[in-house]
């Protein structure tokens, strides 16, 4: 009897070790990205498993070449988040609460948008963008990138707003608040978590976007880092150190968000897809 708890706990720690091994295998490519970035001198040669001396020249070259593109990515992604939330939050509230005729159709349509391949959107959008002068513009790319987050955000926030107690909203209305004020003063603050989750995902979707950046830009005016890296591998075949350093830099927001906003991300993946 006395040995039972210790076997159980040994087995649990065994699971931890297995979990660490799984994690190492899954994260190895990302480790290798960092490792290669720190050995820019290796060029096309074999890369040592561990960077022996810290060589940050790959990073400084990547910052020189891609710093502007990182900034572009940041501006475009933040713009896309603002557009996404400004459009999706009121819609989510309206679809959750107003019982408008056609609500079901709209919600269904929102889900169906997942079915439309991005390249098909780009195919049609490019021609329209040419006509409207939106090619090679920040506004054009922000709008296109916002489309990546809007359906997801509507679904996620709506499923949250449905669960806000009706009495809270009625109380605000009894106090004489109109629909807009109720929404801004009561509903939005209560939906803070759903709003943050939606915003984070809208940011990640826009930051990761490659297709719209590739298709809706014909010049170098608006070039996010994803496109920058893609063109980098074409032009700098031997210079893997700085390509990888640029890759590391482009993965930083994802890593930060994962650490800072862990609970929102796990909630977003399950909430946005299963509901």
């Amino acid at each position: 009897m006395a040995s039972r708890p210790s076997t159980a706990s040994r087995r649990r720690w065994g699971s931890t070790i297995a979990g660490v091994i799984v994690l190492c295998v899954m994260l190895f490519p990302l480790y290798w990205m960092l490792n290669t970035a720190l050995q820019p001198a290796a060029g096309l040669l074999r890369v040592a498993p561990v960077p022996h001396n810290l060589d940050l020249s790959g990073f400084s070259k990547a910052l020189d070449d891609q710093g502007g593109h990182l900034l572009t990515s940041l501006v475009v992604s933040l713009g896309a988040v603002v557009i996404c939330l400004a459009i999706a939050a009121p819609a989510a509230y309206g679809l959750a609460r107003f019982g408008l005729r056609g609500t079901r159709t709209i919600v269904f349509g929102t889900l169906i948008t997942q079915m439309v391949p991005g390249i098909v959107i780009a195919n049609a959008l490019y021609n329209t963008y040419v006509d409207l002068g939106l090619v090679n513009s920040y506004a054009g790319l922000m709008l296109a990138d916002a489309s990546l987050g809007i359906p997801f955000s509507i679904v996620l926030m709506r499923s949250f707003m449905v669960s806000i107690p009706g009495e809270v909203i009625e109380a605000a209305q009894v106090d004489g608040a109109g629909a807009l004020r109720t929404f801004l003063r009561v509903v939005l603050p209560m939906s803070r978590n759903a709003l943050i989750t939606s915003g984070l995902f809208a940011f990640l979707f826009a930051w990761s976007d490659f297709m719209f950046a590739l298709t809706l830009n014909t010049t170098d005016d608006v070039k996010p880092v994803t496109l920058g890296i893609y063109q980098y591998i074409g032009a700098h075949v031997g210079d893997w150190g700085s390509v990888m350093a640029a890759s590391v830099l482009s993965a930083v927001p994802a890593a930060i968000l994962l650490v800072v906003a862990q609970k929102y991300i796990a909630a977003g993946i399950t909430g946005g897809s299963v509901k």
Binding site: R12, W13, S15, T16, G19, V20, V22, M26, L27, P29, L30, T36, L45, I87, P90, A91, L95, A96, R97, F98, G99, I106, T113, Q114, M115, V116, P117, I119, V120, I121, N123, A124, L125, T128, A144, A146, G166, Q173, G178, A179, S208, F210, L214, T215, T226, I229, Y230, I233, V243, M244, S247, A251, A254, L258, I265, A266, I269, T270, S273, V274
Partner: protein
Amino acid sequence: MTTSSITAPAAVVTPRDTVPDPARQRRRRTLARWGFVAPAVVFMLLFFGYPLVRNVVMSFQHYTPKTFFTGRAPFNGTDNWSHVFRDALFGKALWHTLVFTAGSLLGQFCIGLALAVFFNRRFPLGGVLRSLILLPWLVPMVVSGVVWRRILDQDTGVLNSFLDTLGLPGHTPWLTDPGMALLSVILVNIWIGIPFNMVILYGGLQEIPRELYEAASLDGASAWRSFRSITLPMLRPVITVVLVLGFMSTVKILDLILALTDGGPADATQTLGTLTYQNSFVQLDFGAGAVVGNVLILISAVFAVLYLRANRTEGK
């Protein structure tokens, strides 16, 4: 839905002596309410509905590089369609798309499910490890592609040098051999998709009452038996969601393939997605691109209908 349809009439009935015309009031309120939803509806019609329609129209138009100077793309009947369908590359791309999607889903799902079951046990640091595994999914797909391109390099990639030290064939042309490239691209995509599958399936597993397993083990059921008789049936709705979402996002993948192989070598990794891109944005034949894009949509739509029907019969 039910709560809102109850509150709405109740609010309207509230007596307001100062209001002369309740019908007008109601109309104004409905209008204000539509104001919340309308921007999203307009946006989605512009960015999802309109491209669907426009692609159908474009597939009957003749686009050339000159189109963008003259603005003229005359209708040319079914020329684009017959041209695309006669091209052997289309059949190849269709086949690659199906193999890529099926292979990716199978791998992602099986490994994702195994990991979800694994992490469903309680052990020290389980939560931290589980959330760190998400990282590959959050990194931009193009970036993952670029990193793997380096790892899979035939001469200097770390995978081959690792295989070499193990005494295995360490000179595999992962991405440069036409017979090998599609498999390599699938393997990389499996790696990308595992975290997503794991998280959703893990969420589903958490919903299954633990008492069921306790009861089963009291009855002497083996672990495999309770997995088959409890886990899989209880998890079915979540499994459907994972596979449908996975299908829709996998069938249209472009970023990863462009970053890994650019559709090569010798078109060995050309899919409907990359072919649409090539036709439209490399050769500037948007009509041909639209044809391939429409086929891509059709495949998604057929799948969506099957899914909806399966869902409905299950609900009955």
